[in-house]
Structures are given as C-alpha cells and as structure tokens.
Symmetry: C2
Subunit: 340 residues, 2 copies
Amino acid sequence: MSEQHLPSTGREWHLAARPDGWPVPEDFALVEAPVQAPGAGQILVRNEYLSVDPYMRGRMNDVKSYVPPFRLGAVMDGGAVGRVVASQAEGFAVGDAVLHGLGWREYATLDAAGAVKVDDSLPLRSYLGVLGMTGLTAYAGLLDVGGFKEGEAVFVSGAAGAVGSVVGQIAKLRGASLVVGSAGSPEKVRRLTEEFGFDAAFNYKDGPVAQQLAQAAPDGIDVYFDNVGGEHLEAAIGALRLHGRAVLCGAIAQYNETAPPTGPRNLALAIGKRLRLEGMLVGDHYALQPQFTAEVGGWLAEGRLTFEDTVVEGFDRTADAFLGLLRGENTGKMLVHVGG
Amino acid sequence: MSEQHLPSTGREWHLAARPDGWPVPEDFALVEAPVQAPGAGQILVRNEYLSVDPYMRGRMNDVKSYVPPFRLGAVMDGGAVGRVVASQAEGFAVGDAVLHGLGWREYATLDAAGAVKVDDSLPLRSYLGVLGMTGLTAYAGLLDVGGFKEGEAVFVSGAAGAVGSVVGQIAKLRGASLVVGSAGSPEKVRRLTEEFGFDAAFNYKDGPVAQQLAQAAPDGIDVYFDNVGGEHLEAAIGALRLHGRAVLCGAIAQYNETAPPTGPRNLALAIGKRLRLEGMLVGDHYALQPQFTAEVGGWLAEGRLTFEDTVVEGFDRTADAFLGLLRGENTGKMLVHVGG
C-alpha cells in the first residue's frame, strides 16, 4: 500500500439543471470537491479516460427508466478507466489499470468490488469502447438479440458510431451477404465503406431513408440494428424480409425531441412478414462477455477488426464532448482524455 | 364410390371489384357455376359451414402479401367444412366429414390430399373455430410466440372475437395472474367476464385505451395479444413490464383505412424495457397442432373451455356475414351455415 502524493481535492462534473430538449452547457457545473482517502477494501483511482454516451441524455430527465436518473447537484456517473494511486484493497496495487463506473471526475474513491482490473498491454481507452460496453452491445445485439446468421443481409443505422461501426464489422467477419450502413455526413459515409468494410453506405440527410435503403439493398434485409429510431426504423420495417429481426438499441434521433415522435406507420407489416422487433440493454448480456472478449479481442489482435474513437482532450471539456456526441460530431466511441 | 344425385350446378361467391376502404355488397357477386365430377383421386364435397375471416379483407387488395390476393372474377377461397357426396379417392367415402380450403361455394371438387377428414362426434363448425385455425392461432400465439408463463398478466384486444376469446381462456387455464380483455360493445364486455372468465374487461369506445388498461391492470402486463393494432398497441407498449412481449396477430382497426395509420409513438420504450414485438401467422405453427388438439380438445370435453360462434344462416348471406364481421357484429367465430 502506498498513499504518498495524494490529492486533497479534485474536479467533478455535476448535473446543474435538467434540460428540456437539447442540453446546453449551463446544465452542467464543474466543481472542485474533496478527494476521500480510501477506507478498508477501497481504492483511489486517478482517471485517464471518461466515457460520454447517448444513454446519458435519458438519465438527465427525471423520469423512471431502466437506469435511475442522475441526481441534481451530483456527479454524472458512467464508465471510466484509470490507474490506482492508493489502495487499501487486496489484489489492487498502485499503478494497476482499472475500469469502473464512477464517471465524470478526476479522482474516484470506491470499493474494489466495483472496479475491474484490465490488461494494460492494450490501449486503456479500448475498454470504454470496442472491448467494453459498446463492443459488447454490438456483439450481443447482432448475434444474440438479432439472431444473425451467416449469409444474411444487415442494415445498421448510426453506423459510424461506437456501436454501429462494430456491428457492421462483426457482421462482415461472421459472413454477412451484405452490410449497409447509414450516417449523417459524407465523411462518415466514406469511412463506413473505406475503413469499416461496409458493402454500401448512405447519408440519411441526402434523401428519404426508405429510398436510399432500397437502392443499397434491393433484395431487402434480414437484420436491422437500430441506433436511431424514427424514419430509419420505418424504412427498415419496409425492407425486412420474412422472419426478419430489428434490434432496438437506441433512438438518438428522438432523445432531444420535446414533441412525441411518430411511430412506424407500417408496423402491421410485421404480422405478414413475421418480423420480430426486440429492445436490448447490454446489461442482460454479460454472460456473453468471455466469448465476446475472445472473439473480438482475437480479431483486433489479428488486425481484422478496426475501431476509431474521438478523443476530446481535457477534463474541463467533458460537457462539450457530451454535447458534441449528441450533435453527431464523433466517429466511433466518444471519449474524454482527462490529461495530466 | 357413389355418384348418384350429383348436382350439375352450384352457387359460388366471386370477387367482383376491389374495394377502396370499406367493402360494399357490390364488391361480391353470387354466381351459378357448373359442378365438376371428381376425377381420379378427387372428392366432391357439399359444404355445410363456411368461414369468413378478417384476413380475407387484405386478400381483396391487389398487393403482394403473405397470401396471394383473391383474383377478380374468381371464388373467394377460405376454410370450409362439409360432407363427401362423391369420391374417387381411396380412404374417403360418401358421408365422411372433411375440412378444406376452397371457400365460398356450395360444392367443392378437389384432390383428396387437400382435404382433412374430421371426427364428426364434435360439431363440424368447431373445426373452423376453436379446434381449427383460430384456436391454433390463439394457442400458438400465446404460448409459442408470446412465451406466456404461469403467473403472468395478459391483455387481449379484440377479446370477444374468435381468436381473442380463446386466448383469454387458455391464459386462465394455464395459470395467468390476470387476464384483461377489450371489446367494442357493452354486451361483448359482459361476455368476457361472465362467459369467458376474463378477470377484467372494458369497452374501448368508453375512453382512452391506455387509461382503461391502467385501471384494469395497475401493475402492468407481461403479454399483449394484439388483434387490432393502432391505439391498443400503443397503450400496451406503455403497460408492458420489463421483458414483456407483444404478439402481433391482427390489425383489424386498420384494414379498411385509406390513410396511413399512426404507429406507436412510444416504441422507444421497448429499448429500456427490453420488449419483444413479434408478428405471427398460424401457418408457421402447424407443428403444435397435435399438442393443441390434445390440450384444447381436452378442455372442451371437460367443459373447462367454452366457445361461441355467430352463425349466419344461408349461403346467399355470405357476403353480408363478412361485412358484418368487419363491423364487429360477431361474438366469437363468424360462420355461414350453407343450409339445406
């Protein structure tokens, strides 16, 4: 155990106000707070990377949901990786790399049971992305919920995002006959085909999704991985073939809407085509973690799967990073580098 | 083989025009046509009961669907039961009761392979309802697609219909904690609780479905069996608990609409609640037939399951019966008695 050079205070990001529609910088507050020395069984972690994720927008609302809302005046919690700087816990030494869920703060004091030691021969930030929750979401969603099988055609919306870019690559590596992605800028669309190996991609801002999807997948699709909801979901229901599946993973298109969204007007097609639409949260699929780590980690090591992330430098820019994420400014996983 | 007293002509109902919106009597034509004598391997059947079903409305449109459209100027085909009056097929004798799919005609000549002999110690018309396609739809939809388990709460729309009334009873017999049904008249609502054993029922015309459902099932539901679509489906998505399932079986509320329906605006709730919505057609579930016949037939024989049907007398009233079905004038299965 080593406790020298411990900070007495550290900065944290608090939820200052609950947004109505799009969040603004004033909804967040950067606060200096005391750092607690670790008690028995605890560790003190200095964070290196923080995760900002679309689902956090939902937690800013004071509504009952699958994860409790953030509390006003308290830290925005979420995924983070860092290194142990003080330990009162067996099995954790100063310098160990750990993953935890205490979120937007420079220092975190927590029970060791709430931290997972990670192999730091891989970049630490990959544990917040391709080897972490977003990668597992892609893997479990496509294979477990979507029931994807070799030879099937897949459509992914929000395809340049942290989850979508991995979904498309897993589908190709597992033998998809066709992988189509949609994204919101020409640059993202270019990356889908040139870097992530999608067979076809389109910019949903260029025209009706249904029309662009029909051009990219004239014979239809078998699995739709939905990160956005809205018009994309309706177009996919139209394009799904008999016994097709839609994995409902996100609805970022709707998160900041104050008016009720429209639902897919063609949902009755699900009867005749025997479609299955199924919502997912990664927390139901942790049992797949070992298989996921072996398969995706193997592809990464072999250079057959690639990932991008968008790293915003500086803890003080965390709220900006989150707002940029909601505007779609990221390619791949959006992260904050806490810095030195 | 016996072929005496064979008719030379018989009446048939043809599709005369394709409706735009609600069908009208002029869309159908009553036609006198020659009766073909059975060839080798064929039987001639005199129909006793004809089925009129909501799915037939879809077949009146000239659109690609899971079953081909009816052809203009040809017979409206569908389920029928009758007795063999002439046979050139081994194993079929004059007087045998058979089920077949040749639909709205007094006499049907068909290959014996297209007919199923049925036990006539039970009322023949039950093979078009509770022991036929509609009963199997209820059984397979609730248990196989909906994955209903003992102790769960179930909501059924169109609950006084041929499928819905059986769904509710099977749920109770299989140990549901709560079975709620909706229907469109006070008389139907009364039957749901008094005759079919539903725990609660409401008239959807009395107020918003979501509000009435919340009163009947304040703790929510686990399985929703959807026969109507529209507002009912949206209300059910709101009421479904974590890992709830919606069986999409019919959308009769939308069949005669000419404007696009609205979709469920709250579909994004499916993500956090990990809901599954799945379309079904009974044709995918014939493997369940033996289990279904044993279990439901047993309940019928023991008097633990009841069914109602609405029998319209006279072949010449077949089109009227179908139009009445679309207006909801039936309780349970709607049938036509071909008569003497």
